[in-house]
């Protein structure tokens, strides 16, 4: 086998074979063929590869910050020190005893990590208000529909809606059930067809970019 074959075509062949096995395995459920085992193992191998890739990612991140540190990038390097120190601290306490069970590890998880994680999440409470202020201007029929649907559903969700007028929850519920339910159904059908077609193009090696080829 020539090197160009290995470099360019072997990955495509691997994609095709593993993909086809995964799909066929779903349709053929005969115990005598043992596809079940192959499927399970293939998923397992893929998840382990993804695991190693995660470690690669963390390594890449660390390299970026080590570079900042060695170049003393202005306005950044001291934050890089903080970051690298915490990565090492977390890994250090994580490796003590049975992996990931040490009280210090749990403390890092429970206090700083969960606090920051949920705070970043909750920042959306602000962004959702400012984006609504900007986006729900009734500039067109579409804008009107968007804004009206949003307001009625908000007034359905918040107890204050029913307190203001009993009709809010009823109309909000109708919007949820009928236009929302139906349009998302159409949206899902379209996306499913698109995703399946995209996947088939990947399987036959026609889709650019996936294996880094343009």
């Amino acid at each position: 086998m020539s090197l160009p074959f290995l470099k360019r075509d072997l990955p495509v062949v691997i994609v095709c074979v593993t993909g086809v096995v995964m799909i066929i395995g779903y349709f053929i459920q005969a115990p005598e063929i043992y596809l079940g085992d192959i499927l399970g193992n293939l998923s397992l191998i893929a998840s382990v590869i993804a695991g190693y890739a995660t470690i690669l990612g963390i390594l890449t991140l660390a390299i970026v910050h080590v570079k900042h540190l060695s170049k003393r990038t202005q306005g950044q390097w001291m934050y890089s020190v903080l970051l690298l120190a915490l990565v090492l601290a977390m890994i250090g306490v994580g490796l003590i005893g049975k992996i990931g069970t040490h009280p210090y590890f749990m403390w890092f998880y429970q206090y700083p990590l969960v606090a920051l994680d949920t705070t970043i999440y909750s920042v959306l409470a602000f962004y959702i208000a400012s984006a609504a202020f900007r986006a729900f201007k009734i500039k067109s029929v579409e804008g009107l529909i968007l804004a009206v649907a949003a307001v009625f559903v908000m007034l359905m969700n918040a107890p204050v809606g029913a307190a203001l007028w009993g009709g809010f929850p009823l109309i909000g519920r109708w919007i949820m059930d009928v236009p929302n339910g139906a349009a998302f159904r159409g949206f899902i059908i379209g996306s499913a067809i698109g995703a399946i077609a995209m996947s088939l193009r990947v399987l036959i090696g026609r889709e650019r970019g996936i294996l880094g080829r343009t």
Partner: protein, 207 residues
């Protein structure tokens, strides 16, 4: 109640405030919060991931069980790191190919059945026993589903009949997006309220 004396609560509370400052402007406090979050998360992720890959691809060699699968996983896993050298980087493509192939197979399965076929089936409703209002809603839903699917026709311009259907489909989607937006406000506020309760009650001891 009085202000908390627990240093852990203080750290969590201060980091919470640091992180919130991003909504006003970038500043050193947010940068601290950001780097603490990314740093701790990376460390946490490393530990959780290492635990998993060790169990699946290294430990079997000590136990002498499942060597084939573990061996393949280990080799393909380690190949990922060849991307650091320009000459060997093509090797990492082999591992990626296994990931892509498996994911593609799962995608076809997942979308074909759970999404496509089930959603079509759910639109076909017997109407004989429905109340008049439900009948109207059922028919309206069918119309919106059909119009939304027509919106996604790409090989024809949205003109004539297709244009009208696509327009209705777009209106339907705008109602859906508005509803989804409005429905999300609750979840976002909930988490903010929970953080506010932490600051007001757990930390400052008010109320």
């Amino acid at each position: 109640m009085a202000i908390s004396m627990d240093p852990s609560v203080w750290i969590a509370a201060l980091l919470t405030i640091f992180a919130y400052t991003i909504i006003f402007k970038d500043n050193p406090l947010y940068r601290i919060a950001e780097h603490v979050l990314v740093g701790l998360s990376s460390g946490y992720l490393f530990i959780v991931t290492w635990n998993y890959v060790y169990d699946q691809s290294v430990a079997p060699f000590f136990k002498g069980q499942g060597l084939l699968v573990a061996g393949i996983s280990l080799v393909l896993g380690v190949l990922i790191f060849t991307k650091f050298s320009k000459r060997t980087t093509w090797l990492s493509n082999l591992s990626i190919a296994v990931l892509v192939g498996t994911a593609t197979g799962l995608t076809v399965r997942g979308y074909l059945f759970a999404q496509l076929i089930d959603q079509v089936k759910a639109s076909i409703v017997p109407v004989a026993k429905l109340q008049p209002l439900d009948l109207v809603n059922t028919l309206l839903s069918l119309v919106i589903v059909v119009c939304t699917v027509s919106y996604f026709l790409f090989s024809m311009e949205h003109k004539g009949t297709v244009g009208v259907l696509a327009k209705i489909g777009r209106y339907g989607m705008m109602a859906a997006f508005g509803a989804a937006y409005g429905g999300t406000v609750m979840t976002r506020l909930t988490i903010f309220i929970q953080r506010a309760q932490y600051l007001l009650f757990t930390w400052l001891g008010l109320g």
